[in-house]
């Protein structure tokens, strides 16, 4: 009897030793409105655990009200969905570094409405073991300001202040030296050459519409070119891809002729619409180049695959060609085939350069301050990021976050 009891005790005790430890439920589980969004989403936050692993799964169960039944809405390994450096700026972080963070967006399976309270709980599963978290509730709401982008707003306001300050300084002292831009110096030469040869000048405003900055820059330069064209009494041809750009350019060219004292020389037909289709437009402009052989071709604005088709045809006719674009992918083609190319920001500086108006020239100085600031930030950021990695210091992220664009 005694040996049998001992045997039973031994087996009983053995079973107790071999039993797996209970799963600990997720700690610090919270449900909050997702910050800086348009609403209809909730954010789930809980503490990371040293025992998180790919075999341990986390299930998210949500209900439309405390009384309603819970539905499983997501499942993932417990060693995923951490808050990583760079996900949020330090001033708008919904969870601590290393915590778990899951954004629960409205879906067909689980629609989330603004202003309605939802309850959520987590289920931790590994093998046959389970552990539930506390039930937490949260209400989704749209936000009126994206606090993650406050650094962006501060820089925009500061840059505006610098620009206005530069303009005021240029008004007081209008003699601001400008770096020579060969492409813009050649504008006069190109127009003069066209006049001497008795051939027209072709001016293209690019592929964009009036909502695009390079197109606006192209129309502004057109005004300056048209004044010189009116002065020399040369023919100007501006074929368009967008009717609104055409209407704007008609007005600009007309006013340029009036300013030049040659309103009688203005022709409404100098601006004309061809088509909005990329290659049909290119074929038509190539045809104009080959038939009418303009002595000067201007390519200003944004361009795509048509750039080389246009400029190579122009080069074959022997025209002097001046291009200006911010389309960095097309710059090699322009540089290769045109006599002069305004690269990137030079397109935006052209208006100030050609007109020499102190107010506009002042903005160029403001831009230079902006570029100097960015260069300083690049050097500082590179140094801090290197120090952060080498010395394993998290503190540098407080500075680096200031210069990141968070969405």
């Amino acid at each position: 009897m005694i040996p049998a009891a001992l045997l039973l005790l031994l087996f009983w005790g053995g079973t107790a030793v071999a039993a797996p430890p209970l799963l600990s439920p997720p700690e610090g589980f919270r449900v909050l409105d997702t910050p800086n969004d348009a609403g209809k989403s909730l954010s789930l936050v809980w503490k990371a655990s040293p025992s998180d692993s790919k075999n341990r799964l986390v299930q998210v169960w949500a209900a439309e009200s405390p009384q309603a039944a819970f539905n499983k809405v997501a499942e993932f390994p417990s060693n995923t969905r951490y808050v990583k450096p760079g996900d949020f700026p330090w001033w708008a972080q919904p969870a601590g570094k290393g915590d778990h963070y899951v954004k629960l967006s409205s879906s067909q399976a689980f629609p989330i409405e603004n202003g309605k309270r939802y309850t959520v709980k987590l289920l931790m599963r590994e093998g046959g073991r389970e552990a539930w978290s506390d039930v937490a509730g949260g209400t989704a709401a749209p936000n009126y300001f994206n606090t993650a982008q406050i650094n962006n707003l501060v820089f925009v306001l500061a840059f505006t202040g610098v620009l206005l300050g530069s303009i005021a300084a240029a008004r007081r002292n209008p003699h601001v030296p400008l770096r020579r831009i060969a492409g813009l110096d050649a504008v006069e030469e190109a127009i003069g050459r066209s006049t001497e040869m008795g051939r027209p000048i072709l001016y293209l405003t690019g592929a964009g519409d009036m909502s695009e900055v390079p197109t606006i820059a192209a129309t502004v330069i057109l005004g300056e070119v048209a004044k010189k064209v009116a002065h020399y009494d040369t023919t100007l041809k501006v074929p368009h891809r967008d009717p609104i750009v055409m209407a704007v350019c008609q007005e600009i060219v007309k006013e340029a002729y009036v300013e030049a004292g040659r309103p009688d020389a203005y022709k409404d037909e100098s601006n004309f619409f061809i088509t909005g289709d990329q290659f049909s437009y290119t074929a038509a402009v190539d045809g104009i180049m080959l038939r009418e052989k303009p002595a000067a071709n201007f390519f200003m604005g944004s361009y795509f695959a048509e750039s080389l088709l246009l400029t190579e045809t122009g080069a074959s006719t022997g025209a002097i060609q001046i291009a200006g674009t911010d389309s960095d992918h097309q710059l090699p083609f322009f540089v290769t085939t045109c006599d002069y190319t305004l690269i990137g920001e030079e397109l935006y500086a052209a208006s100030a350069y050609l007109s020499r108006e102190p107010v506009l020239v002042g903005t160029l100085r403001g831009q230079d301050f902006g570029k100097a600031f960015i260069m300083g930030v690049l050097v500082l950021g590179t140094a801090l990021a290197t120090v952060g990695v080498v010395a394993d210091v998290d503190g540098v992220n407080y500075v680096l976050d200031l210069f990141k664009d968070f969405k």
């Binding site: 009717p243 080389l308 088709l309 506009l360 403001g366």
Partner: protein, 217 residues
């Protein structure tokens, strides 16, 4: 008149410019709806503006035909093609396919527009060759550097080049990822600063020549 031509557009530009600058920072659905509505308005205005474009197109080519200027036959071809396409488009109710079958409008698009567009695009290959020939003539030190870099990149990007000169792959990657990326980023930084400055000048009414006329009127 000066109010309608100058002050009112400047006021609208200022208000809309400021509003949509701040719209970027406002995630609220009201802000999203505002930008969606403005986009729709822009599409409507573009639709109406197309009539302006058509009027210009018809006018320019009508003048060429009536005056029989050299090349007026092209203008006639344009009229025939355009009116023909419009008639066939109406006849096909603007549909390119009906019940799985191609309409006349669809046929016209697939067998005239698409091949013509393809032809134009394919010319690019020949133009790249001729432009490259001009650019790669080693007439200066810069052109020589360009020539060497281009040869290395070309060898590093084609299987035969990698087979013959395996080191070109690494050099190509370095040229593209380091030198090329650095220069592109520098250009983009300048472009972004310029675009922001021009936008601010337009919003604040400092640059107003896009309205036509001088800046100080």
């Amino acid at each position: 008149m000066i109010f309608l031509k100058r002050q009112l557009p400047l006021a609208i530009t200022f208000v809309m410019g400021i509003a949509f600058t701040f719209q970027y920072y406002i995630p609220h659905p009201v802000s999203e709806d505002a930008i969606t509505n403005v986009s729709k308005w822009m599409q409507i205005i573009s639709g109406f503006a197309l009539f302006l474009g058509l009027a210009s197109l018809f006018h320019v080519h009508a003048v060429k035909i009536t005056r029989q200027v050299p090349g007026w036959g092209f203008s006639l071809a344009l009229y025939v093609a355009m009116i023909g396409t419009i008639v066939i488009g109406f006849w096909s109710h603007g549909e390119t396919k009906v019940d799985g079958g191609q309409t006349a409008f669809g046929w016209l698009y697939d067998y005239t527009m698409v091949p013509l567009q393809g032809t134009m695009f394919s010319i690019l290959a020949f133009f790249i060759a001729s432009a490259a020939y001009r650019a790669f003539r080693a007439r200066s030190r810069e052109a020589s550097v360009l020539l060497v870099a281009a040869v290395v990149v070309m060898m590093g990007r084609v299987p035969l080049g990698q087979f013959l000169l395996p080191w070109t792959w690494d050099v190509t990657q370095w040229l593209l990822n380091v030198l090329n990326s650095a220069v592109r980023r520098a250009i983009l930084i300048g472009v972004s600063m310029g675009a922001v400055a021009l936008s601010l000048k337009i919003i604040l009414g400092i640059e107003r020549s896009y309205l036509g006329g001088g800046r100080d009127q």
